[in-house]
């Protein structure tokens, strides 16, 4: 309890001491209510300070809360912060997939020069069981950006990409890396497996 509350309780006690036992006397009740009403209301800063000084948790409870926070932090491991940078949002279903006929088609979904641009990828591999997009924008993580199979048999996905040049490929059935047959190729001096290039910019 804080000092203001202590003072108020003291005044209430004094008031009750002078109040006949035969209460409820309306005047006595009135005095009591006035005492409570007149007690100074602590300032917002004072209440904030009191809340800080008087924890609602015991040391054990605080430890449990901190432990839980640690556990949650361990599980997420910065996933929220990294998501925009690394994981295409379409993988989470937050961006609509826009099917189309062009292998690589960009749509300016956002204004501004540096805002991500929704970019559609389309692959015609009717024999594939699964197709995912891998590239520098998703750290080449297989399976993180799966394509959806349309009724026509084409595979497609739309992902928001940062403006610039991106190198990518398709991962077919989880293992085979294939360049986009209808996009410009990118030499791969490091691994000897060419990829494809897409230039992304706001139109």
């Amino acid at each position: 309890m804080n000092e203001a509350q202590d003072r108020m309780i003291e005044r209430v006690r004094e008031t009750l001491r002078t109040t006949p036992d035969a209460a409820p006397d309306p005047r006595a009740v009135g005095r009591l209510l006035n005492t409570v009403w007149e007690s100074p209301r602590p300032s917002a800063w004072r209440r904030l300070l009191d809340a800080w000084r008087v924890p609602a948790l015991s040391a054990l409870g605080a430890s449990a809360v901190a432990g839980f926070a640690l556990f949650v932090g361990f599980l997420t491991r910065g996933a929220l912060g990294e998501r925009l940078e690394r994981e295409p949002l379409s993988a989470t279903g937050e961006f609509p997939v826009q099917p189309g006929a062009t292998p690589v088609m960009q749509a300016a979904a956002f204004a501004g020069e540096s805002a991500p641009v929704l970019t559609q990828f389309v692959l015609d591999r009717r024999d594939a069981r699964s197709v995912s997009l891998v590239g520098d924008f998703n750290d080449w993580k297989g399976g993180s950006t799966p394509l959806t199979r349309l009724e026509s048999g084409l595979w497609t996905v739309s992902v928001p990409l940062a403006p610039g040049r991106h190198v990518y490929a398709y991962l077919i059935d989880g293992t085979l890396v294939q360049a986009d047959p209808r996009a410009p190729k990118s030499d791969d001096a490091d691994y000897g497996r060419e990829g494809s290039v897409v230039m992304v910019f706001a139109r």
């Binding site: 008087v54 901190a66 932090g73 610039g164 990118s186 490091d190 691994y191 992304v200």
Partner: protein
């Protein structure tokens, strides 16, 4: 006093949990490289790069690219080490730019065969507060399409100095890409497309007078 101690304990625990979570977020990722020796070497390379203040995301991406392409461990190790060297070089050449995106673009330009001195020239063509990611990316793309680096640099820096936006510079790269794919000579494609973009820009006099252009911040 006892309460103060409790509060301090609570604050310390919460701060510890937050910093531990952040450390987990930043710390070395466990890369799925089957070759344990190569994995350790790659993770050590990434940790060294981080200690030197280099961005680690391009290195992780390079390692993961090797994993996706089922490259042998030592090839992944060599590719990551080479990437780290290029990032370091790009940082020197693009100074004072330090953004991860710019360093990654600079490293990619060097890998594509853009001469080192050209990175400095690109950086110098725009004020320091403007990102040169797009000009570098387009330069890389033009060189990848077999356009002589000198010719590509001249056109790009001319557009930059005339106040072209990153999108306008990117449109040049994409148009040339499409022209080359359809069979046009790369040099001819660059010349005609650069002329097209240039015609959209204000006259040199109005640029010199400080006419406002798109921010182009990246």
């Amino acid at each position: 006093m006892n309460m103060h101690r409790r509060v301090l304990t609570l604050v310390a625990l919460v701060l510890a949990s937050v910093s531990a979570a952040r450390a987990q977020a930043r710390g070395p990722a466990v890369l799925p490289i089957a070759d344990a020796k190569a994995r350790v070497a790659v993770e050590r390379e990434i940790a060294r790069a981080e200690a030197r203040g280099l961005p680690t995301q391009p290195l992780i991406a390079k390692a993961m690219e090797g994993v996706a392409k089922q490259a042998p461990g030592e090839q992944i190790e060599a590719a990551v080490a080479s990437m780290a060297k290029r990032l370091e070089q790009a940082r020197t050449l693009l100074a004072p730019s330090t953004s991860a995106a710019e360093l990654a673009s600079g490293a990619e330009a060097l890998r594509a065969g853009v001469p080192a001195a050209m990175l400095k020239q690109v950086r110098a063509a725009w004020p320091v507060e403007r990102s040169v990611v797009m000009p570098l990316d387009v330069l890389t793309e033009l060189v990848a399409r077999k356009i002589p680096a000198k010719h590509a640099l001249e056109q790009i820096t001319a557009l930059m100095r005339r106040g072209a936006t990153p999108s306008q510079i990117a449109s040049l790269g994409q148009a040339v890409q499409a022209d080359v794919a359809s069979g046009l000579e790369p040099d001819a494609a660059l010349e005609v497309r650069a002329r097209g973009v240039m015609s959209l820009l204000p006259s040199p006099a109005s640029v010199a007078a400080g006419a406002p252009r798109g921010s182009g911040k990246q």
